[in-house]
């Protein structure tokens, strides 16, 4: 019961603030609502007893990326930026993509109701105290089962980082 209430609470906040983030005119207000959406997602992770993902979501997305976002928003002269042509010209493309996504999710739900074993996988419910500690579980799977993808992702990030440094150096 408590789980359900918590889930709908966080999910409601996440969806509402995501909508508000897109519709606000003021960029800083949008950033605040994006932060709220990310925090609500972290809350859902916590409700699923994935406490490591919860804190990683907060440290990386909210504490790291969003701080940089807000920093950049404040550096840029917004009054000038608002007068320039914006990127929001793909209304129709966005609508089609959103409809396709909604259709996909709908088909998933529909098939999982009709045919057992297909569509959404239903995991066996486990009591909270029998779950392995989340940070250990994540570390073990990252460094054993998913070692290669993990390393590839690290190399990709390193390349992006070096690229950013090189491009920044070129300017001066």
């Amino acid at each position: 019961m408590l789980d359900k209430v918590l889930f709908y609470f966080f999910a409601g906040i996440a969806v509402a603030s995501a909508v508000l983030m897109v519709t606000r005119r003021n960029v800083v207000h949008s950033a605040i609502f994006l932060i709220t959406a990310l925090l609500a997602t972290a809350g859902i992770f916590l409700q699923l007893r994935a406490e490591f993902l919860f804190i990683v979501q907060i440290i990386l997305y909210v504490g790291g990326i969003m701080v940089l976002f807000v920093f950049v928003i404040m550096l840029v002269n917004l009054d000038v930026a608002l007068q320039q042509i914006q990127f929001a010209r793909q209304k129709w493309v966005a609508l089609i993509v959103a409809l396709a996504l909604a259709g996909q999710v709908g088909v998933m739900f529909w098939t999982s109701g009709k045919m057992p074993g297909q569509g959404l996988p239903v995991l066996a419910a486990a009591a909270a105290e029998h779950l392995p500690p989340n940070s250990e579980a994540v570390a073990k799977s990252l460094f054993s089962t998913y070692l290669l993808p993990f390393e590839i992702a690290s190399v990709l990030l390193l390349v992006a980082m070096i690229g950013a440094v090189v491009m920044a150096k070129k300017r001066t």
């Binding site: 019961m1 408590l2 359900k4 209430v5 003021n26 800083v28 207000h29 605040i32 932060i35 406490e51 490591f52 919860f54 804190i55 907060i58 440290i59 909210v62 504490g63 790291g64 969003m66 701080v67 940089l68 807000v70 920093f71 404040m74 550096l75 500690p133 989340n134 940070s135």
Partner: protein, 458 residues
């Protein structure tokens, strides 16, 4: 739906009434604690500048925090006309909220912890307290003033730069424990019989510097540098809102001091807790407090008015009561050895709390000492220190601590023996970081030279 929500709330209350109560108590007591930290800071500042500091309100200014709090509460609350009202209202609350929430994960002694045994312990504390930056940035933006915005920008740049170094320092200490749980971290130090400050001195130094920068304290208090930015991000805030920022700053100080104490300084462990012949150290805390109480009684006749004399007496009584509470679990087993087992949990809780608070106070004292000794850095100096020295140093240190631990496992070293491998690692890390710094300095000097000659040639 209404019924279900009520049921869920009741279920929640039944499970978590004790942590909730503790949380409310912490939120209620913390402003008082912060008020007295500010008083102590003013007294230390006065001492270092050969003055007396606050002396008027209460004996030796002991009631000054209460007078300050009343003043702040009844001050006029000004919101600038062009400010973004909602964000202006939200920002200080965010700052304080993040600070208070992160306190929930900390363990003051083995018995006192609000959110007990969370698996991600130390990450929770560090991650949540880092959210306080949004209060500063949004507050600076919402005030719609250039000074505030500059302060906010400096603050976020500073935090982003030093968070990396602090995180790496935490990683190198966590390599020794293999867990994030706060209780297990302290227990690991008790098992090794050596605090991690000795095993990872470079990490401790990095964390010390980075934590000063993260809490915006002098010599890194550029976001509120009064000679350049009036009061930085707090310029437009007044009255209660301003005091919320103040509360947040000092709460953050307590949080970083507690993290450092837990990870590096042995948490609630007594110095040399594993050495039986040093057990007489247990008598130090009660004796210390009795001495303070005796001093208060001694000074009592010198107070000018009757009220102040009574207040001094009350202080002495408080000290004696705390001394008695601290003495009871150590003296009782000496008188009656059969009580030892029954008293043990009380001993762990009470003395653990004392040592934890004592270490946190020492760390905060060090902050204040630095503030009144070292002049403020320039912003480019701050960035150079962060990016060119601390971050390379902390990354090299993580690598070398890992190598040292593998070597230690190979030679079956434990406890103090680990120093044999970690000390060379620390020295090598320092040498490498200084080498990088020297090479960069030389290159910068050369570039400057060529730039200058070009300038004159042109």
């Amino acid at each position: 739906m209404m019924n279900a929500a009520l049921q869920a709330t009741l279920e929640f209350l039944k499970l978590y009434w004790a942590p909730l109560l503790c949380g409310v108590a912490v939120v209620a007591i913390l402003p008082l604690v912060v008020g007295y930290i500010v008083l102590v800071e003013r007294k230390i500042m006065a001492d270092m500048q050969a003055r007396l500091g606050p002396m008027r309100v209460g004996p030796h200014g002991l009631l000054q925090p209460i007078a300050d709090a009343v003043k702040l509460l009844i001050k006029e609350d000004i919101i600038p006309e062009n400010a973004d009202k909602l964000v202006f209202w939200l920002a200080p609350v965010l700052s304080v909220g993040a600070g208070l929430l992160s306190l929930a994960g900390l363990a003051i002694g083995p018995a006192f912890q609000i959110a007990q045994d969370i698996n991600i312990g130390i990450l929770f504390v560090v991650g949540i307290s880092a959210l306080g930056i949004f209060g500063i940035v949004l507050g600076g933006w919402a005030s719609n003033s250039h000074y505030s915005l500059m302060g906010a920008l400096r603050s976020s740049a500073q935090l982003v730069s030093y968070e990396t170094a602090a995180g790496m320092a935490l990683v190198s200490a966590l390599l020794f424990t293999g867990t994030l749980n706060i209780k297990s971290i302290v227990e690991a130090q008790s098992k090794e019989g050596i605090w991690f400050v000795l095993l990872a001195p470079v990490a401790f130094f990095t964390y010390l510097v980075a934590s000063i920068a993260e809490t915006n304290r002098a010599p890194f208090d550029l976001p509120e540098a009064e000679s350049e930015l009036v009061a930085g991000y707090m310029t437009e805030f007044s009255g209660f809102r301003w005091s919320l920022y103040f509360l947040a700053e000092y709460t953050n100080m307590i949080v970083v001091a507690s993290v450092a104490t837990t990870l590096f300084l042995g948490g609630w462990l007594r110095p040399f807790s594993g050495v039986p012949w040093l057990n007489f150290l247990d008598f130090v805390p009660p004796l210390l407090l009795s001495a303070i109480g005796a001093y208060c009684v001694l000074r009592m006749p010198k107070q000018p008015t009757r009220v102040q004399q009574l207040f001094m007496l009350a202080m002495a009584g408080l000290c004696f009561v705390v001394a008695l509470v601290l003495a009871a679990p150590v003296v009782l087993p000496v008188i009656k050895p059969s009580l030892r087992a029954a008293v043990a949990p009380f001993y762990a809780g009470i003395h653990g709390g004392f040592w934890f608070i004592f270490k946190v106070s020492l760390y905060i004292y060090f902050f204040m000492w630095l503030r009144f000794t070292i002049p403020r850095y320039r912003f480019d100096q701050l960035m150079r220190l962060g990016w060119h020295f601390l971050i390379p140093l902390s990354i090299i240190n993580v690598l070398l601590v890992g190598v040292a631990l593998i070597a230690g496992a190979y030679f079956h070293l434990q406890g103090w023996g680990l120093l044999l491998v970690t000390t060379p690692a620390a020295v090598v890390a320092l040498v490498a970081a200084f080498l990088i710094l020297a090479v960069e300095k030389e290159r910068d000097a050369r570039q400057e030279q060529t730039a200058a000659s070009d300038f004159y040639a042109g």
